[in-house]
Amino acid sequence: MRWGLLGLALVALAGCGGAAGGGDANDNATVFAAASLTEVFPQIDPAATYNFAGSDDLATQITEGAPADVFAAASTKYPDQLYDQGLVDKPEVFATNRLVLVVPKDNPAGIRSVDDLRNPDVKLVIGAEGVPIGDYTRTVLENMGATDVLDQVVSEEDDVKGVVGKVSLGEADAGFVYVTDVKPVEDEVTAIELPAEAQAEVQYEIAVVKAAPHHDAAHEFVEQVLSEGGQAKLQAVGFGPP
């Protein structure tokens, strides 16, 4: 009886190991996707298993051997890096995006443009360096000759949802996010468009992971995203064509 219990525990443990190793009954793709894809990817394929986070974190997880099938990032940097390391197949651009400035609906700091961010009372939240949204934000500010507004930064978030959250809570006065992040929180925030010539080139890349436990499902998923139907859904929420 006593030994039975121990045996049971060991069998359960072994079962877990098997599942993580890839022999599970579930044939759906496990997709590691940028946080900004949180709303749209489940519309394209509701059956896939998703892990949404900062593209940089996802890249680290895949490098450390996480059982991902597909990697979809909000930049070309990380998929290209993993491709160079031989961890993923050749990445393809599947969407583009652009940045906007968001402020809480009641706009406590009275912000109408990037210039207003220079007011010393403004609490600005941006993405951290190394996170795509953080790098793009710095590019946009450089293009506008407005890097001095970085002095107003009170927090550097690890992914774009951290920026969205703090602005929609009304705790931060402004933040730079993707235009596609605005829709889910349009009741809480107002988006301010940025000059087109200042925009960073925001390209999203997708790639099948070489060690994918569900290789076929992974290819199907990528095809779905690149298909007309997938592209229509991406563009319906504000993404640009590749």
Binding site: D56, E157, L169
Partner: protein, 272 residues
């Protein structure tokens, strides 16, 4: 039957020990020790260390100052609603850190309960070092108070009683009898609460944000460096492990140390 049972005990202990120690050992084996040290002198690491030390020390002072009388009160007085108070104190211990972060926003944030009052007074807490201190106090004070109560409850009531009957007032009894006698337990509680505060992550990253040199504590720096410079993240992680080991050793050594000092201090205490 006895022999297989002994083997079972040993195997269980061996498995769990290996499981617990392997990741920590691996942390140190992943990069050479001299690299670990050089990473610790990087600007990010130094900034994070300074922020962590400053906020942890301030938070800990508040926790000790307010927590010790609170623990004494709950341990020695029987009042209506005592178990309710105990439960409320224990609540932050089991609360997910993200909930703690949201709760701090709801209370002290700009749109929070006290937001307008604080704003009128010209005070803004989120995204400041004060916010880091708040987050640390929120998660570490319940730890200290809970263990502090246990330390005070472990005292022999006869000693407290004797102090009273010999004419010492409640204040004198607290400072001259209860506090020195519970010192060992309180120090252990203090060390563990400090370590818990030093490792605070979830509530801080939400309520205080993450900004190098301002609110980015050691755990936040580890998270931020994970993708920028994995070696710095590793080095900071290894450093926190060393600090944690030091804290635990202190806790283990404290009771014997306190007993020793109490015995050696006793004669002089009697003569004054």
């Amino acid at each position: 039957m006895r022999r297989p049972f002994e083997v079972l005990l040993a195997v269980s202990a061996g498995l769990i020990l290996a499981f617990l120690l392997l990741p920590i050992l691996a942390l140190f084996l992943r990069i050479p020790p001299e690299d670990l040290l050089s990473q610790l002198t990087s600007q990010v690491a130094v900034d994070a260390l300074l922020v962590s030390v400053k906020t942890s020390v301030i938070a800990h002072a508040v926790v000790l100052l307010l927590g010790t009388p609170t623990a004494y009160l709950i341990a020695t007085r029987r009042f209506r609603g005592r178990s309710l108070v105990l439960t409320l104190i224990e609540l932050p211990l089991v609360l997910p850190p993200a909930v703690a972060g949201i709760a701090l926003f709801a209370a002290f944030g700009r749109a929070g309960l006290l937001g307008e009052t604080l704003h009128a007074a010209g005070i803004s807490i989120p995204f400041t070092q004060t916010a880091v201190v708040f987050a640390i106090i929120f998660v570490s004070s319940p730890f200290y108070i809970r263990l502090g109560i246990a330390a005070f409850e472990a005292l022999d009531p006869a000693l407290i009683e004797a102090s009273r009957t010999l004419g010492a007032g409640p204040r004198r009894t607290f400072f001259r009898v209860a506090l020195p006698l519970a010192a060992g337990g309180l120090s252990a509680a203090s060390a563990l609460a400090f370590a818990r505060g030093l490792g605070e992550f979830g509530a801080t990253i939400m309520f205080a944000g993450s900004l190098q040199g301002v609110t980015q504590t050691l755990p936040l720096a580890i998270y931020a460096q994970l993708d920028l410079d994995f070696d710095i993240a590793l080095a900071l992680g290894a450093f926190l492990v060393v600090v944690s080991v030091a804290v635990l050793l202190t806790v283990k050594l404290l009771p014997s140390w306190t007993r020793f000092t109490l015995i050696s201090l006793a004669p002089s205490g009697r003569s004054d």
